[in-house]
Symmetry: C2
Subunit: 238 residues, 2 copies
Amino acid sequence: MTNKDQNTEEIIKQAARKVFQREGFSGARMQVIADEAGINKMMLHYYFRSKQHLFDVIFEEDYTTLMAPLAIHLRNPELHVEEQIILFVRGYHDTMIKHPRLPLFLVHEFAKNPHKILEMAQKSIPVSKSEEPAHPKLSATTYMDQIEKGKALGHYNDVDPRQHAVSMLGMCTHAFISRISVQTAYEMTDEQYMQFLEERKEEVIDHTFRILMKPDYYKKWKKKYQKERQNEIDNTPT
Amino acid sequence: MTNKDQNTEEIIKQAARKVFQREGFSGARMQVIADEAGINKMMLHYYFRSKQHLFDVIFEEDYTTLMAPLAIHLRNPELHVEEQIILFVRGYHDTMIKHPRLPLFLVHEFAKNPHKILEMAQKSIPVSKSEEPAHPKLSATTYMDQIEKGKALGHYNDVDPRQHAVSMLGMCTHAFISRISVQTAYEMTDEQYMQFLEERKEEVIDHTFRILMKPDYYKKWKKKYQKERQNEIDNTPT
DNA sequence: ATTTAGTTCAACCATATGGTTGAACCGTTT
DNA sequence: AAACGGTTCAACCATATGGTTGAACTAAAT
């Protein structure tokens, strides 16, 4: 008669997600996951066969539902780089504020299982027809191309798009990956840190653009952008 | 008669460092460390009592000899912020190019053992007389103060020094912490990635200053800086 | 040469841990 | 109400793993 509560599987996944994100694969214990889920350890194997398989399911789900959608912005040819960046950075912060352990979890497990990188790249496909690079899902061609165009137009600084991308990513991830150190150093409470992250969202966008844009273009863009922000806020009554 | 080769201990530490950095505490196996060192597993306990103790020794040594000296630059009141940043970022890249797994290792273990953060802060003391903040060794008062001064003088943008510091740190760490993903995405060989990191060193300094400085001040500084660099290179014949 | 003490090892131990067994439970079908 | 089959559990198993034992080895000291 299939799943009495039709959600034991989901309960297990929630518990496993929590424990794996906190402890990593090798640090996680099946018994701890079972306790966290409030069920018998055997259920884990009944529903997911093995620790490895349960982990793979969680890892893939985390990656494809949380991380992959963000990367898509950077490959969206409908958007201008500036919009790509804004959507990516805001989306990143919004997602990770809800899942603060995710960045370190993904990075750590990718480091221990490099093969998963391309594996995940394959799976996070929202169907695309013709992208050429060897690993299309990992690349951000549109983003890179547009930066080159912006440079040619004299809007952007002469920055290596790859370096720029790594800087942007780093600015996004660090506040989450090194959260405990940062929070300790700044002597912040959890609430204060949440506030810090919320502010950081727009701050990172600003930093990213300061790196990318020539001063004149930056000023022009900033003026336009702040007007739009104001309209947004006005049209979003609480 | 003490250590036949007077370096068994050192051999063990080298092996343990390698394995712990690669696998993390919970992923590391004593047998693997022994094999890596080419000795009997019992030696590990003879010299270091337990896995936990061996780990603690490695962790503290890694932190105090490699990470802590870099942080000191940001607290050195003898230096101007710009010099602090240059020394920190260059030092960071030089150190981590030699120990590429260190950033992820430290971050991961700090996340699992937050208490180690203040513990390490205590130990990395090159003796100081009167610093006030609750956790002096974690703070970077001089750096923060000087940024406020630079803002008052109109040299710097109106940036939150804490946000600026996190951005700088993130730009430094990401190329190491997410190395495998970045290298895969850019389809680089190990040699190409080394080149990328070498270039990145000066690039991060540039990005950091673009975020911090007002355009005019940035231009002035850049000119002066490039002249100095040229002199350095001229005076350093290969 | 014998003693002494630090060093090294093969074999062993106890526990932790991922995984399995066999029976009980329970709603549905007949 | 009997049979069925998906679900749940307590107890169990095999192996992995951190840690220990006791003896052997080595080189300096006597």
